[in-house]
């Protein structure tokens, strides 16, 4: 398993039956491949469908059915079409059970920065600010460091996506939960020690007695 697969598989363990879930573009979208057997969750694409399905059969793509990245998708039986007002009404109104998003930085307060790097191209926040503000659970799915530079830091130096504490950070090295007391290390990744994680993290980590290890079937 490479880093991304570890992250996607571990995030998939956060899914519960009946959840409405939004997966960001890129790494987060891989989570859809690891939904536990028999578990029914509804994936929302913020561009307008609840019940996002996999890729359509060759030659049967509909130009009016894509995901938020613009790729052709299908809709599962029981799907619903929604317009942007309903889509973001669900997101901001607390109806979205979980969003999984990439991250540039997360800090000791659990604040996430994932939408811009000053001085670089500004892609725009798209739906990220609404998702982080409104979803019941915000799970950050990202590789632990960017080319050696720590991404889990004492305080974000990049502009925040929202002034809200995220629910969970999942990397290939660790599962970390932001709490009132700070960042609590919940699980270590495959073949990784607490010292390895500390060395790759500039934020202070609280290591509880009941520290777990990621486990995959």
């Amino acid at each position: 398993m490479d880093a991304k697969e570890i992250i996607a598989r571990r995030v998939a363990q956060e899914l519960r039956a009946g959840m409405l879930v939004n997966l960001g573009i890129g790494l987060p979208s891989m989570v859809a491949s690891f939904v536990p057997d028999g578990l029914q969750v509804f994936f929302q694409a913020e561009n307008g469908v609840i019940g996002l399905g996999s890729r359509p059969p060759e030659g049967m793509e509909d130009r009016d059915l894509t995901d938020a990245g613009g790729g052709f998708v299908t809709a599962v039986p029981g799907a619903a079409s929604i317009d942007s007002a309903m889509s973001f009404g669900l997101i901001r109104g607390g109806h979205l059970d979980m969003t999984v998003l990439g991250g540039l930085q997360v800090d000791e307060k659990g604040h996430l920065a994932n939408w811009m790097v000053p001085g670089k191209m500004v892609p725009g926040m798209g739906g990220a600010m609404d998702l982080v503000t409104g979803a019941k659970r915000v799970v950050v799915a990202m590789v632990h460091s960017a080319k050696g530079a720590p991404k889990i830091v004492p305080e974000c130096t990049l502009p925040l996506t929202a002034a809200r504490r995220v629910s969970l950070i999942v990397t290939e090295m660790a599962v970390i939960e932001p709490t009132d007391d700070g960042l609590v290390l919940r699980e270590t990744g495959p073949g990784v020690s607490v010292e390895d994680i500390r060395a790759a993290t500039t934020a202070t980590l609280i290591v509880p007695d009941d520290l777990g290890r990621m486990s995959f079937d």
Partner: protein, 217 residues
């Protein structure tokens, strides 16, 4: 009974400097024949309101390529390097708006509300220059309504009195934009007699629509 316009007739209605609300999310649910007609006519100084600026050579991206857009009010420009270049060179102004805020601002403009009170953007760069209203100890940004001179919509079906149906992820901003412009022009994939669309299936009542684009040849 609505008049069916040729694409070039529709484009001729649009004056220099007009504010255009154009449906679509990465080109899905955009009125492509209308966009092509505007590019062919070459009327400039436009303000474009859309979810994004699509990609170069695609959807509303064609308006950017042609240099017709002075200002874009969008949530995302990350997939259009032409927009980014024009923004940096100062040739074009870009107002980036969180996607859920963007659709509510257009809705507010359409349904006669004075603004939107949203938690999205509080404590971020988006807050800069905006009024913050505290309600029961929580902070909300006061975001201003958006209206257009024209709304240019894509729809799956229309009937002769202008009732519209949208499909799957091609809904996106179209139903809300239909409320928020002085002149509304819809480009349906099919135009059908009155009575073919059930009252319950109508997403945009025909009273909101001023013109239909004639059938594609």
């Amino acid at each position: 009974m609505k008049r069916a316009l040729k694409p070039e007739e529709a484009a001729e209605m649009i004056p220099e400097g007009a504010v255009l609300l154009i449906g679509g999310f990465m080109g899905v649910g955009s009125p492509h024949r209308l966009i092509d007609a505007i590019v062919a006519r070459g009327v400039g100084g436009l303000t474009l309101v859309n979810n994004d600026t699509c990609r170069p050579g695609e959807g509303v991206g064609k308006l950017i390529d042609a240099g017709l857009v002075d200002k874009a009010i969008v949530s995302h420009i990350g997939l259009n390097p032409v927009t980014q270049q024009k923004m940096i060179s100062g040739e074009m102004e870009v107002e980036l708006v969180p996607q859920g805020t963007l659709v509510e601002r257009i809705r507010a403009g359409g349904v006669g509300l004075g603004g939107v009170l949203t938690p999205t953007g509080v404590g971020t760069l988006v807050e800069e220059g905006k009024r913050v209203i505290e309600i029961d100890g929580r902070k909300f940004l006061l975001e201003r309504p958006i209206r257009g001179d024209f709304a240019l919509l894509d729809a799956r079906h229309a009937d002769y009195v202008g009732n519209l149906e949208y499909s799957l992820t091609a809904h996106n901003f179209n139903p809300v934009m239909a409320l928020a412009a002085d002149t509304v022009i819809a480009e349906p994939h099919h135009i059908m007699p009155v009575g073919v669309i059930s009252p319950d299936a109508v997403k945009t009542p025909g009273v909101l629509v001023d013109y239909l684009l004639e059938r594609a040849h």
